[in-house]
């Protein structure tokens, strides 16, 4: 190691630009930027979709049934992505469908974070028997395939948006608990925690103000990726008829209806899937970028 002349140190340590770290990391990782743009488009569509949807998504019209996308020979320029078996505009339905995906993704994951972080913090911080018990619970949940548990739960509770959010939230918390517990164990023995305990702070105070801030980065990354998982799970359950029910428009329901017309109208099952895949892709790219930007320890490869 060469020694650096002390005088030049401040020069080197000064940040080269005034741009915040996340922006610089975004510029290095252009793929993350693509993810961010896709996520922004989906969010805007979910919020303001009705303003720019070309047609009423629920309007039935016998005369406009099975029109293929605009670029094919029999296409109609008024219906960019074609129409379905009831003459409804596919593009407008896709735009309205974004709303359910966003709501289920955000609310479902919020529940998972709340449950998972609470269990992970408690388990890791208190330790001992409580930790043992909670860890076994986590192990058990890990053994049951997520989608099967969700399918059975939502099937028995009865389908619907509200039940779906609750079920996906309560079945998806395991990863959060596991990761938070691990991080808590790593942080717990550090000196500043001992210091906080020495000055007589309560366990809850230490957990919330000293331990939790250290695990937020991991939670944000996991939560982002989990939103993609939940959106795909929602569409899967809706596809199976166990999720959101018509007439509410969701991509999963559109796909399951389109599946019955595969031989004649390929576009009906294709575009909702493209919408789901692109949304999930955007979220995953954003999540991978966040992982690199927020927490170098989680970086892969």
């Amino acid at each position: 190691m060469k020694t650096v002349p002390a005088a030049s140190l401040p020069e080197i340590q000064r940040p080269r630009s005034a741009r915040p770290a996340w922006l610089r990391s975004l510029m290095r990782n252009s793929v993350g930027g693509v993810g961010l743009v896709i996520v922004a488009i989906v969010l805007i569509t979910a919020l303001a979709g009705p303003l720019f949807a070309p047609h009423d998504p629920a309007k039935l019209n016998v005369k406009t049934r099975y029109i293929p996308p605009a670029w094919s020979a029999e296409g109609d320029s008024r219906y960019l992505l074609g129409t379905d078996q009831l003459g409804r505009d596919v593009l407008s339905r896709l735009i309205y469908g974004a709303r359910v995906s966003v709501i289920v993704g955000l609310l479902g994951v919020s529940i998972s974070v709340l449950v998972g972080v609470t269990i992970g913090l408690t388990s890791g911080y208190i330790g001992g028997r409580v930790d043992n018990l909670l860890s076994r619970l986590v192990d058990t949940f890990m053994a049951i395939p997520f989608i099967i548990l969700a399918l059975a739960a939502v099937g028995f509770l009865g389908p619907g948006l509200f039940n779906l959010i609750i079920v996906l939230g309560l079945t998806g918390w395991v990863t959060f608990a596991r990761v938070v517990r691990g991080e808590v164990l790593a942080v717990k023995s550090m000196e500043y925690i001992t210091a906080a305990r020495t000055i007589g702070q309560s366990s809850w105070r230490i957990m919330l103000f000293h331990v939790l801030p250290n695990v937020t980065a991991s939670i944000i990354v996991l939560a982002t990726l989990q939103i993609a998982t939940v959106i795909i799970a929602e569409s899967s359950l809706s596809f199976l008829g166990m999720g959101v029910q018509p007439p509410t428009i969701t991509w999963g329901v559109m796909l399951s209806e389109g599946r019955n017309h595969l031989a004649t109208s390929w576009w009906l099952a294709t575009f909702p899937g493209v919408a789901i895949s692109l949304t999930a892709l955007g979220i995953i790219l954003m999540g991978d970028w966040l992982r690199d930007a927020l927490d170098p320890r989680l970086r892969q490869g």
Binding site: V31, R136, L137, D139, T140, F141, M142, A143, I144, P145, F146, I147, I148, L149, L151, A152, A153, G155, F156, L157, G158, A228, I232, S235, S236, F239, L240, G241, M242, L255, R259, L262, A263, W266, A269, T270, P272, G273, I276, S277, L278, T279, A280, L281, I284, L285, D288, Q300, G301
Partner: protein
């Protein structure tokens, strides 16, 4: 090694108890379980009789304690739909699901091992970036949709392959590919990162320095160690495969356990759903056990006698 195996088997017990609690709760979130056992027009007396016969009139914790023995023995009672014990119905369909899951695993490995190796060897090259982006896209696609797209392409357009049911190996191609593509990205990403780490190690440098052929260094020296973390996620992947099987089986009308569970959820055939979830979880637990035990074979440094 034998002691360790026994220890791991004993550790399964709390997980099984946890599983029985989850199943117990699952069966009761749908409301009164008796409602599914009696005819809709049954009189209150009949309902009360059924309730007493099944023990549903006792306090919840007593009900649980009396059910745990049966649950752990795999006795979930009769299927309402088939009028026969639930467990044999599930086990009958187990081979079809395992056949699908294992074929999918083979497909996934055939994709993931070359992809992960190439990406690691040519790290940060355009080839690596292409592989990484493709695998991210693979993670983002819902696998039932991928299945439908494959049906559209190979079944409807090209008419190369049958799109539903069972028969010969050709029926297995599309469902196994669909399910396999679903887990290939996770496997190839993991192999890439562990391979990159191993290729930096000193013994690899030594192997190269003494003039070994690059193919020998990569395949014989590096890959063996890179595969260890690969095995650790096998249990998780098993859970994923079985979960994915439910939907893929439904899309391709594959007569396995997943489809049975789905159909049973639809008609609220509680016994079959319980038995199915139980078997699925048991398979994942056994897979995890095998993973732990196989470390010894892959990495002789791990000592089980401590």
């Amino acid at each position: 090694m034998i002691r360790y195996t026994l220890l791991r088997l004993i550790q399964l017990i709390p997980s099984l108890i946890g599983l029985s609690i989850i199943l117990f709760i699952l069966m009761r979130i749908g409301g009164d379980p008796v409602a599914h056992l009696v005819r809709p027009e049954a009189s209150p007396d009949e309902v009360a009789a059924v309730r007493a016969a099944y023990g549903f009139d006792r306090p919840l914790h007593e009900q649980y304690l009396s059910s745990i023995g049966r649950i752990l023995a795999g006795d979930f009672g009769e299927s309402v739909r088939f009028r026969s014990p639930a467990m044999p119905l599930v086990l009958e369909r187990l081979p079809a699901t395992l056949q699908l899951a294992l074929s999918a695993l083979v497909v996934a490995l055939l994709i993931a091992i070359p992809a992960g190796l190439i990406a690691a060897i040519f790290q940060n090259s355009p080839l690596d970036i292409t592989i990484t982006l493709t695998s991210t896209l693979g993670r983002a696609m819902p696998n039932y949709w991928l299945g439908i797209m494959l049906i559209l392409l190979f079944g409807v357009q090209l008419r190369w392959l049958p799109v539903s049911g069972t028969g010969d190996w050709r029926n297995l191609v599309l469902p196994a590919t669909t399910l396999g593509i679903g887990i290939a990205p996770a496997l190839s990403r993991l192999l890439r990162s562990s391979m990159i780490e191993v290729l930096r190690r000193e013994y690899v440098v030594t192997a190269r320095a003494k003039g070994l052929k690059e193919s020998l260094v990569v395949l014989r020296h590096a890959m063996r160690n890179a595969l260890i973390p690969f095995v650790t996620i096998f249990g998780l992947q098993m859970a994923w495969l079985l979960g994915g099987a439910v939907i893929v089986e439904e899309v391709f009308a594959w007569p396995g356990m997943g489809r049975l569970i789905y159909r049973s959820v639809q008609v609220r055939d509680l016994a079959v759903v319980q038995a199915g979830v139980f078997i699925f979880a048991l398979i994942v637990m056994i897979a995890n056990l095998l993973v732990d035990l196989s470390y010894a074979l892959l990495d002789p440094r791990i000592n089980y006698n401590d």
